[in-house]
Symmetry: C2
Subunit: 143 residues, 2 copies
DNA sequence: CTTTGACTTCAAGTCGACTTCAACTCCTAG
DNA sequence: CTAGGAGTTGAAGTCGACTTGAAGTCAAAG
């Protein structure tokens, strides 16, 4: 539950960096790439001060990125947000499509995992049976 | 297509490419990077002829790669295989460690998926309730 | 007052894994 | 014989997403 926008404690770039795990350089880079819907405010000394919401969005961005959404597509989404109400369906489509892609990625990764695990098991068995040298006969037969 | 399915059923680079989904260029590149334990043989005309085993290994490579194993690490594994029997434990360690990494990747991806899905659900609800415009109040509150 | 450390800008460099290019050779079909 | 398609080589280019560098500003601590 988000509180009202009045008494928001603003966060320095270092604080946001700590919370998100993103290097400060990367936060500046993201801003430059237009990954924040609103402007990042500055204090009297010209330093960046992030709202809680912006910090949260940065955290979301780490998830979008780590799941393979390219920066331009995040930008596309943000651009729609910036435009204001009226394009929610488009925004939804971007998110849902990415969700599908990630689900596919998980499936692919699990398939790869199965292949790898098969090989691991073969080694486990051969090693405990002391027949590991037979894993090499006339080529990498080990599958 | 050259129909030589006689003796050891060697495969052309094009056939291996088709089976693995790897472009022929990439197969040559992998060979150059030392990703095959044995030599890739050549026919009279100097063209690559892969054994079934090599084709299979290439397929395994696609899984290792798609799960993020770097080429140098695949190379390290292959180098051990090339050395012959005696280092099975090391080979096993490489595989098992990668297996763990992939399991972690799956977990991370599922976490990201959860975050994304949460946002998707918020949009779904707001859209069906006709309150989508409220997703934008005074910032991207939508989480 | 000086140092420390976080911050600022803009520009250039890095990385892995291909991918593309250029310039061939070779085999088979028509 | 000629065209087409598959194959060969080494070198150079591409890509996204940072990352690093250079050169400076600012605020509080010792």
């Amino acid at each position: 539950m988000t509180v009202t926008t009045d008494t928001d404690a603003l966060l320095s770039i270092g604080e946001v960096s700590e919370r998100t795990g993103l290097p400060t350089h990367t936060l500046r880079f993201y801003e430059q790439e237009g990954l924040f819907a609103g402007p990042v405010r500055r204090n009297a000394a010209g330093r960046r001060m992030y709202s809680e919401e912006q910090a949260h969005w940065a955290r979301v961005c780490t998830k979008l990125r780590s799941s393979g959404m390219p920066l331009p597509e995040i930008h596309r989404y943000v651009a729609l947000v910036r435009e204001g109400p009226g394009n929610e369906k488009e925004r939804f489509a971007i998110l849902r499509e990415h969700e599908n892609k990630v689900a596919q990625q998980v499936a692919d990764l699990q398939e790869a995992l199965a292949v790898i695990h098969t090989k691991v098991e073969i080694y486990e068995e051969a090693l405990s049976a002391g027949t590991a040298d037979q894993l090499w006969r006339d080529g990498p037969t080990c599958d």
